[in-house]
């Protein structure tokens, strides 16, 4: 045990947790403060009166009472985005290439995981499972989802990207778009042929749908807090994976090789690093994370279809760019910020615009952010500004 501990780099286990805490609490606090100030300002205007007329509650207390739920939901989805964004960012770091098909790797993870659970359900083991067994089954499903997605990511790289490594930039990107389309329809085809339908619903089992509820009174306002067990699972699982990833990259030999390859592929290969192997590992790790994120996403939103990867994929990419593409800490920060922003927008846009625009604009919200970031800070929040070399 002591021997083992000596090899364990404890600092690299604690540091990412600290980071995540700081990012989550920090972003949540800033956004909450902004929305509350906004609510206070608009309370006395037509926006506030409209809400009073409709729901008989002031804008400020409406905003406040929903806030805890919004923050939790935002963080949940934010961590999912972060896990996907890491896949984009790692590949970009190593190959300067946007792996457009990463969103379908995520979708495959979701499908494999859900199918495993459905299979367990048909075996009859799910419905009566104890809480402990429920978690064991879920873990099994996540594990298989990860393996499938990771294996697929590696295969796709070998077949479709590796032959194009020295081609002009747009060539592998175009191939990646092709892979993305191909995989969407392949999922549909396989699901359609084997199950007769391609919209799947994750079985309900365990205590995942329970909610831990609470009420708090803050002055005149009642705060409702309802955290579903699902959200906690999603967050905890994502945190565990991110810690593991951080450890892999920052405290192991493989991680060092990955970092070396992303610094300078040619020099790394001169130093005896097997670049192809490292690239495969990068895709594998990105795929593992993406696959797990897929099942977590399915757990949270219950219903999946073959095109489920598109929006989370685009948003996670936005998160990666927001944080500074190629930068892993940035992807984490970007994911959390984007998840929160989007959930805030989805929840409050309707009230704040008096119903003119609502959560239907949630999906394009990320794009607006992406464009703004690219205009004003193309290197992202944590990226370095490196000029082009002539």
């Amino acid at each position: 045990m002591k021997q083992f501990l000596r090899y364990l780099n404890v600092k690299e286990l604690v540091r990412p947790i600290g980071q995540m805490l700081a990012f989550s609490l920090g972003s949540a606090a800033v956004m909450s403060a902004i929305i509350l100030v906004l609510a206070l300002v608009l309370d006395k205007t037509a926006v506030g009166t409209a809400l009073v007329n409709k729901l008989n509650v002031s804008l400020f207390s409406y905003t406040l009472s929903n806030l805890p739920q919004v923050v939790i939901d935002g963080l949940t989805i934010g961590f999912v985005y972060a896990a996907i964004a890491l896949g984009y960012t790692m590949v970009y770091g190593v190959l300067q290439f946007i792996n457009f098909a990463h969103s379908e790797i995520f979708a495959v993870g979701a499908f494999v995981g859900v199918e495993v659970l459905i299979f367990l359900q048909t075996l009859g083991v799910l419905s009566g499972a104890s809480v402990f067994m429920a978690y064991a089954y879920l873990s099994l499903a996540i594990l298989l989802a990860m393996l499938a997605a990771g294996g697929l990511a590696v295969t796709v790289e070998k077949i479709a990207y590796r032959p194009l490594r020295n081609a002009p930039r747009l060539v592998p990107l175009t191939a990646a778009i092709g892979v993305s389309f191909l995989l969407q329809d392949l999922i549909r085809l396989v699901e359609g042929l084997t199950t007769g339908q391609f919209n799947r619903i994750i079985p309900t089992f365990g205590n995942f749908d329970d909610r831990i509820t609470g009420k708090m009174t803050l002055g005149a306002t009642k705060l409702f807090i309802g955290i579903s067990v699902k959200s906690i699972i999603v967050i905890v699982a994502a945190v565990l994976m991110l810690v593991a990833l951080n450890y892999l990259v920052n405290a192991t030999k493989v991680g060092k090789a990955i970092r070396a390859v992303s610094q300078d592929m040619r020099t790394a290969s001169l130093m005896g690093i097997n670049v192809n192997r490292i690239i495969s590992i990068t895709f594998l790790v990105g795929g593992l994370l993406g696959g797990a994120a897929g099942l977590l996403y399915a757990l949270k939103f219950t219903r999946i279809d073959p095109f489920i990867g598109f929006f989370p994929g685009i948003k996670a990419f936005t998160a990666a760019v927001l944080g500074g593409i190629g930068n892993m800490t940035g992807a984490l920060l970007g994911g959390i910020i984007l998840g929160l922003l989007e959930t805030f927008a989805g929840s409050y846009l309707g009230v704040f615009t008096m119903g003119a625009a609502g959560s239907e604009y949630k999906d394009i919200f990320a794009f607006s952010i992406l464009i703004l970031v690219l205009i004003f800070r193309p290197q992202g929040l944590m990226g370095k500004n490196v000029g082009q070399k002539a």
Binding site: L164, L170, F181, A357, F367
Partner: protein, 446 residues
């Protein structure tokens, strides 16, 4: 090796009168086949592939133009009116060829990957859909609640004006979108244009409130068409009703008219594209595509050149949008989704990025695959499902084949495969772009 030897053999054959004979035979045989077998897909393929003979076989240019005009202006309309499905296929080929040619300026010449190209198409379509329908008077009604018998805002002939308006508006949209993002590296631009495409679609879906601009997911209908003078129908009938076998109705005549419009747009695009390509502007575009830093060091204002390419590409899409809205008399947001953008991109890449004949071929091949081959295959499977046939060895009854297996619905698979295979094995496309050879000598102008 095989490819070169095939080319050699072909070149050896393709001499003297051979070209004339093959072209004429192909056109005549194709026309006869479709005429006598109006329902056969194969006949149609033989017919439409005569365009390939026309392109590849050597003959005098005047002869080629003559045959081409005969095909485009007489044979296709006549055959199309006899079997209106063919006219639809040809119309769609024309529409996609025009879109691909527009996208080709952006992707092929200038090297900017635009993944949201159909957004500009949507801009044009919604422009005419709004002004050429009753939508203006529906602004204050939720979708589906408007009273009947609302007037139209503009007469149908305003269509012609809007062809121009759409060009301008789409170009401005392109510039506005491009302005902030042109400084970015190519792959960022791809994602931003993708985002823009989605934004336009989501807006079209949701701008039925607070005021009803787009009628939401239900889309806008009816949209007006330009008026068709009586005498045109009469003239057409007096000339061709004998060959066609029945009198042509106004609705069919409209289809012919929109086919002609699309053809005109294609010719206009080719004209503009060719002339720009072979000038300072076109060279600057290609230089930007090949090496931005070298280009800018030669004094080429890269942002301005990229914006120009973006605007020119967008304006053609806007133009086609107006045409689409009028020809369909109905549009909805789903006509402008991401898959359409990738579809057009696939056509450009399959045919040959930067190559005008290639891009047209790409549009034709994919449209035919889509409309005829995949759908034909679907119908065939359906027939099998209805029969009692059984696959011998594995003893599988066709009846039990999942109805999910409907090839017509697997366009993404097709597009995806095409993109991957082309990128790996033939990134230059079916008919690769060629640089013009110049014949210059110094002494004569000394």
């Amino acid at each position: 090796m095989a490819a070169t030897s095939f080319k050699e053999v072909f070149d050896k054959l393709n001499q003297g009168v051979v070209g004339y004979v093959v072209i004429l035979l192909h056109v005549v045989a194709g026309s006869y086949l479709v005429y006598s077998q109006p329902r056969s897909n194969l006949a149609f393929l033989v017919f439409i592939s005569s365009l390939l003979s026309l392109y590849f076989f050597r003959a005098d240019n005047r002869f080629k133009i003559l045959v081409g005009m005969l095909l485009a202006l007489v044979i296709i309309p006549v055959i199309g009116v006899r079997n209106i499905f063919y006219l639809e296929v040809i119309f769609q080929i024309s529409v996609f060829a025009a879109l691909s040619l527009g996208l080709n300026i952006v992707v092929g010449f200038t090297g900017l990957l635009n993944l949201g190209y159909v957004a500009f198409y949507a801009v044009g379509a919604y422009l005419w859909a709004f002004f050429g329908s009753q939508q203006f008077y529906v602004l204050n009604y939720a979708p589906g609640t408007q009273p009947p018998d609302l007037p139209f805002l503009l007469p149908g002939d305003a269509f012609y004006l809007f062809l121009l308006v759409a060009v301008i508006i789409a170009a401005i949209t392109g510039i506005l979108l491009g302005l902030p993002v042109m400084r970015l590296k190519g792959d960022y631009l791809a994602i931003v244009t993708l985002g823009f495409g989605e934004v336009i679609r989501v807006l079209a879906n949701n701008l039925d409130k607070p005021i009803n601009l787009t009628n939401g997911p239900q889309g806008i209908t009816p949209i007006q068409r330009p008026t068709m003078p009586e005498w045109v129908v009469d003239l057409f009938n007096s000339l061709f009703s004998g060959v066609i076998g029945h009198d042509v109705k106004l609705a069919d005549m409209y289809n012919v008219m929109f086919y002609f419009f699309a053809l005109l747009v294609i010719i206009a695009i080719i004209f503009v594209t060719k002339r720009l390509d072979d000038s300072k502007i076109g060279r600057a575009w290609t230089a930007v595509r090949e090496d931005e830093i070298a280009a800018v060091a030669q004094g080429i204002p890269i942002v301005r050149m990229k914006l120009l390419a973006f605007a020119v590409g967008a304006s053609f899409a806007g133009l086609m949008g107006v045409l689409l809205a009028a020809s369909r008399t109905f549009i909805s947001p789903e006509s402008f989704n991401f898959m359409q953008s990738i579809g057009v991109l696939s056509m450009v890449i399959l045919g040959g990025i930067g190559s005008i004949p290639g891009v047209i071929l790409g549009a034709a091949v994919l449209t035919i695959l889509n409309l005829q081959v995949l759908q034909g295959f679907s119908l065939y499977l359906n027939d099998l499902r209805q029969s009692d046939a059984v696959i011998p060895v594995i003893n599988f009854a066709w009846k039990d084949l999942s109805t999910q297996l409907d090839p017509a619905k697997y366009q993404k698979l097709l597009f995806g495969l095409i993109l991957i295979i082309m990128m790996i094995f033939r990134p230059e496309g079916l008919i690769p772009a060629k640089r013009r050879k110049r014949d210059v000598s110094v002494d004569e102008t000394k």
